[in-house]
């Protein structure tokens, strides 16, 4: 294992507290945990691409970052409109 794979392992482990908070907290806490988890997941995909020498994972990280931004924006926009 090289340094990038160790880093990917550590980042994937950091997703566990985000997931727990996304399960337990209020809705806004869940949104914050989702934002942090998507940022860490994007970074994990990036370092996995470098660790495994698979450039397709880099494109996956880019698409994941873009789609998680749109998804989080839609969720927060929906939350704001609750009466």
């Amino acid at each position: 294992m090289n340094a990038f794979l160790w880093a990917a392992t550590a980042m994937l482990a950091l997703l566990v507290p985000c997931g727990l908070l996304a399960v337990r907290g209020s809705i806004l806490d869940r949104v914050v945990a989702l934002q942090l988890g998507s940022a860490i997941g994007t970074m994990a995909l990036l370092v996995m691409a470098e660790g495994f020498h698979r450039s397709i994972y880099v494109d996956l990280a880019l698409v994941f970052g873009l789609s998680s931004f749109v998804a989080t924006f839609a969720i927060v926009h929906y939350l704001e409109r609750w009466a």
Binding site: M11, I27, V32, Q35, L36, A39, S55, V58, A61, T72
Partner: protein
């Protein structure tokens, strides 16, 4: 050897920053306080990871996309934090876990 050292240092710093952000998000009492800890994880750590990728790959496909991701996260994450803080400040969704059923609208008789 120097490249490997630079990569190791940058990756360790990125993981350290992300771990501190996760700890802060976990420990803070409410969503507005938790939002403050999103900034380092989305504006500093991606640049450190992009720097580590650049140290090995320079300007090939992975290096360019890593830079693109870092720029994208630096630009859009403040927008998301602002929108989330606005929703938190309006007090909506702060304590509920599912949406309330819609109330029927009253008709105004003229």
């Amino acid at each position: 050897m120097a490249t490997r050292l630079v990569v190791d240092v940058l990756l360790v710093l990125a993981i350290l920053i992300q771990a501190l952000c996760v700890l802060g998000v976990w420990r803070m009492p409410n969503a507005l306080d938790r939002l403050h800890f999103l900034a380092p994880a989305t504006s500093v750590a991606p640049w450190l990871v992009a720097g580590a990728v650049w140290a090995r790959e320079l300007l090939d496909h992975q290096g360019i996309v890593a830079l693109l991701i870092a720029v994208f996260m630096l630009g859009w994450q403040p927008v998301l934090a602002h929108v989330t803080a606005r929703a938190a400040a309006s007090g909506r969704g702060s304590g509920r876990t599912s949406p309330e059923p819609a109330r029927p609208r009253r008709r105004v008789s003229t």
